[in-house]
Amino acid sequence: MNATMAKSSSPKRSRLTRQGVVMTLYLVFLLLPIYWLLNMSLKTNEEILSTFSLWPQDLTFKNYITIFTDPSWYSGYINSITYVLMNTVISITVALPAAYAFSRYRFLGDKHLFFWLLTNRMAPPAVFALPFFQLYSSVGLFDTHIGVALAHCLFNVPLAVWILEGFMSGVPKEIDETAYIDGYSFGRFFTRIFMPLIASGIGVTAFFCFMFSWVELLLARTLTSVAAKPIAATMTRTVSASGMDWGVLAAAGILTIIPGALVIWFVRNYIAKGFALGRV
């Protein structure tokens, strides 16, 4: 504590500025393409194609209005959010007991099972796109939210088990034993004592499940047509007979960034710790 305070006051200016320069450059690199998208979303198509300007000369919200007045656009949003949340809840619910089993017990074939689970995280969605389409069509899950949510479980459940197992292994086993001695049943111990202890781990897992389900499109698009069509797939509609509607495309892009940005904003204080995945 004292030592860190002292460091800030000691003369370290040269390093501070170097850090500042590196970070500024990197952040500019990250933000420039996003800014460009924002810039375009606020221009008319005529301006986009005729003049090249670093900011909108003729500021317009027409592109956004187009999106918000068209029900297929905002239903795309609701579809995406619905299956992402479903997936997150399902993944965590099934992964919690499994991760506990892997972190606490040895059982027949446990190591192979763990590796087999992880292999599904390594499976290219492209490999599964077509068979998924056929399977889900035959069992009536095609074009449903739960269908997409289940498909995304393919890579999110193994990831959730993996992350949660890391956090759970950090909790000493003595805590379990003490609770059992104190007369807790497994269920009560798990919900009352154990889950609060790994709350940050659950949060991190939820974040990663949200993230990978939200950004995935290949499976989501293959498994939906109308009723559950994700927002990101709706974007491809902007190619019309008169060519690309660049302004609306850009506005749609900006709108798909917003939910992610909101989630990040809410979890910003846990990001650093969370990314350690309990495995540092």
């Binding site: 004292n2 030592a3 305070m5 002292a6 460091k7 006051s9 000691s10």
Partner: protein
Amino acid sequence: MAEIYLKKLAHSYLPNPQKPEDYALKEIDQVWEDGKAYALLGSSGCGKSTLLNIISGLLTPSQGQVLFDGQEVTQLPTEQRQIAQVFQFPVVYDTMTVYDNLAFPLRNRKQDEASIKTRVAEIADMLELTADLKKKARGLTADAKQKISLGRGLVRQDVAAILFDEPLTVIDPHLKWLLRMQLKALHQRLNRTMIYVTHDQTEALTFADQVVVMYDGYVVQIGTPQELFERPEHTFVGYFIGSPGMNVLPVSLEGATAYLNGQSLALTTRYISQPGDKLELGIRPEFTQLSPIPSAHSLTVTIKRIEDIGRHKIARADYQGREINIVIPEDQPVSVDYKYLTLDPRHIHLYANGWRLKQEASA
């Protein structure tokens, strides 16, 4: 090897300190002798870590200077100060072997491998690490890791002082005293200046030649363990050192007589006090005696309980609402009927506002 002079040193974490309370370390002006072992003792937040960090160079004091052998080092960064430090938690380079760990400071200083080899062998031998030299440091126990961090300080011949920041915190209790004894023996053998920060009085008293007791940013007393026990300069030293600590009772003073709620006590000499001072009498439990028969200056107390801790018994007594601890040698009888307490006048100290009063004769 160096003498450390802390010249008019004070530190505040605030940019613009005004009041004394703003200072985490109040002004001190002291010379710590070359080759001695010092312990900085105090409870947490007393400023001992601040002082240690100033000496090690992690912290630049807001006022005053630090001199090693007369050379000012106040503004020098840690790496240029020729000090070594052992931290609370073992700091070892996990991926290196024990040998490489010990050789690391010398390699960084571009010494040749042959001389590094002899030096490391010598230090490893001293720390009883020779058998582990080829092992990875990561797999070792906490006490072995602490020895490695100490060893990294010892291999360097240019080290002015070795600092210890509560180094035994993570060591198993049964290994603590062993390591402490090794440290003590090393100090006697090497004669290096060592500064040892701790909140554990036993560690401080067994390790150090001189114990620096700190309280609320003040250095309240520097002395040998003996001096701290016999003549605490501040009631805090009385409380903090000794088990149980010194008894402190409010008194009033008249010439060579102290009055404790009307009960007079004869003192060996007269004391000088200012009117308005908060006067207190301090006496260690070891210098009090219980008896079943009243005497001239005895206090009538109620014994609440008697604890037998092996070497001696401790009586917890109540004197007009104040607790007094009494140490009773194992062979002496005691019971609740022993309600007359006499205080040995030669070991009574008087304190004004916490600080020990000078006796008139010496003043």
